[in-house]
């Protein structure tokens, strides 16, 4: 099966500064979930932003290719690139409160994209939104459409963003830490919901998280990042039984596990950090970055 999103040697750097992503390569297949894990600052969110074309202004793509459905996005003119991304990809952001406009009702925030970008009629968009809110198990969708974001709980807001992400039947969804701000019990519901929606719609999903526990529940494959370098690309089950890279193994040993309180939560050993830092600088020398 060919990948829907294929990233090849993608490099991103600070304008006039150091590298942020170091020749990242990975594939996301239709109907599959690919996890991006790493500690804060490892660049995992930047991969999603590079694909969507929403990198912070201080950063730029300095090399590599992003293939979406067989087309190299980097060769397209900006307007065509935006149109293609807008029509086929969507984002589920981390913080549902900042992602929703506090001064607008829920309904228009879901339908806007359908009306403005995809040219649907207002009535069709309205019906589609109602349908989706029911699909993400929101009680009384018609009433919620008229609510403002602050009137809803964090879990409800995240459901709405999931509904909005799936609204235009995207083929690729990038979920950027979608449950980090939520309680464990709500997180479980939301993760299950994302997995159900993704499977039902056959979407390719790129899932950014720092929680390996979450990865083991939702992902089919994953990339481990350190300082913008992919240290390991792995199938999910193999990763948890036999992580190859020492940094992956250390990250796994640091993950809190209540069933094994003293075997888990181990700090990443200094020699592992030194080794992976050396790997990064060797990579930079080799690529002349």
């Amino acid at each position: 099966m060919s990948a829907y999103l294929s990233i090849r040697n993608l490099s991103v750097a600070l304008k006039g500064g150091g590298p942020i992503l170091r020749r990242v390569s990975l594939d996301v297949h239709p109907g599959q979930v690919h996890g991006l894990v790493g500690e804060s600052g490892a660049g995992k969110s930047m991969i999603g932003k590079a694909v969507l074309g929403t990198l912070p202004r201080a950063l730029q793509v300095t090399g590599g290719e992003i293939w979406l459905d067989g087309v190299n996005l980097e060769t397209l003119p900006p307007s065509e690139r935006r149109r293609r991304i807008g029509a086929t990809a969507a984002l589920i952001p981390q913080d549902p409160l900042t992602a929703l406009n506090p001064s607008k009702r829920i309904g228009p925030q879901i339908t806007r994209r359908l009306v403005d970008i995809l040219g649907w009629s207002r009535a069709d968009a309205q019906n589609r939104a109602l349908e989706l809110l029911a699909e993400v198990h929101i009680p009384e969708p018609a009433r919620v459409m008229r609510n403002y974001p602050h009137e809803l709980s964090g879990g409800m807001r995240q459901r709405i963003l999931i509904a909005a992400a799936f609204a235009a039947e995207p083929q690729l969804i990038i979920a950027d830490e979608p449950t980090t701000a939520l309680d464990v019990t709500v997180q479980k519901q939301i993760l299950r919901l994302i997995a159900q929606m993704q499977a039902r719609h056959g979407t390719a999903l790129m899932f950014v998280t720092h929680d390996l526990g979450v990865v083991s529940k939702v992902c089919d494959s994953l990339s481990v990042l350190y300082a913008g370098l992919v240290v390991e690309n792995a199938r999910m089950r193999r990763f948890f039984t036999r992580p190859i890279h020492p940094y992956s193994a250390a990250l796994l040993a640091a993950t809190p596990t209540y069933t094994d309180p003293f075997g888990s939560l181990k700090p990443v050993p200094q020699n592992v950090i030194t080794a992976v830092e050396t790997e990064v600088s060797q990579h930079d020398r080799r690529t002349g970055a």
Partner: protein
């Protein structure tokens, strides 16, 4: 006993339902909590968001005043003590906050941040800042740095250094590792374990993460909607959870193990 808490109630005004004119309606946050913390114990306080765990913590260090009930700190009733009466006691109970970026003054250097509470309480500062930095495993020259120059884990160490510099008897730690990467989480927890042991601290550790609680705490109380649904030894909580809510919390935790049955 370090703390004896009896039938603690606390209500706060619900500002989301405040009419334009007039008072906001009161919302009951804590609904009759009773528990003890023996000296030298590490108590875990868990619960989902909105369960009242942070409000409970704030009442314990009297940043909030209870509506009813009693808080005894080392045998003294502090439930309605005035600021003047509290001041000498504040030296003895300190707090570490969740987000060091917003609880450390960005315009002050680390040294000034740690010395702040010492000066407020009229304690001789000399040598104390270096000592506190050393105890949390930061080099002395960090005293001249600003919070934004530090990593998340280092910032949280500064928060801890500020709390222990006064040599308190009791520390309240409110979700202090939830904003950190797993590797820094492990380091900060190890540090806290050492400090509790070496300084003979009593600690209340608020967290939503049961894995972290299991590692650190000897006893746990589980809160839901401002009520204690379970209070027990940590080992028992994990081996034989009694309350349905505790079971639900435990089952919701995604373990890093593809074999876990989770649905």
């Amino acid at each position: 006993m370090m703390y004896q808490i009896r039938d603690l109630h606390l209500s706060l005004p619900d500002m989301t339902r405040k009419p334009i004119l007039g008072h906001a309606p009161q919302m009951n946050i804590l609904k009759g909590l009773s528990f003890d913390i023996p000296k030298g114990a590490v108590l875990g306080i868990v619960g989902g968001s909105g369960s009242g765990k942070s409000t409970l913590g704030r009442a314990m260090v009297r940043l909030l005043e209870p509506t009813a009930g009693q808080i005894m700190f080392d045998g003294k009733d502090i439930s309605h003590a005035s600021e003047d009466e509290l001041r000498p006691l504040r030296k003895r109970f300190q707090m570490i906050f969740q987000d060091p970026m917003s609880s450390l003054n960005p315009r002050r250097r680390v040294g000034g941040i740690i010395a702040g509470p010492l000066r407020l309480h009229g304690v001789d500062v000399s040598g104390k800042v270096d000592e506190a930095l050393e105890m949390v495993g930061l080099p002395r020259h960090f005293a001249t740095r600003y919070p934004h120059e530090l990593s998340g884990g280092q910032r949280q160490r500064v928060g801890i250094a500020r709390a222990i510099a006064l040599r308190p008897d009791f520390i309240l730690a409110d979700e202090i590792v939830s904003g950190l990467d797993v590797s820094s989480q492990a380091q900060v927890l190890n540090l806290l374990e050492e400090l509790v042991r070496d300084l003979g601290l009593t600690l209340a550790f608020i967290s939503h993460d049961l894995s972290v609680i299991r590692r650190l705490c000897s006893r746990v109380i589980v809160l839901r909607n401002g009520e204690i649904v379970e209070a027990t030894e940590t080992v028992k909580l994990f081996d034989t959870p009694q309350a349905d809510y505790t079971k639900e919390l435990l089952q919701a935790i995604p373990l890093p193990d593809p074999g876990q049955t989770w649905t």
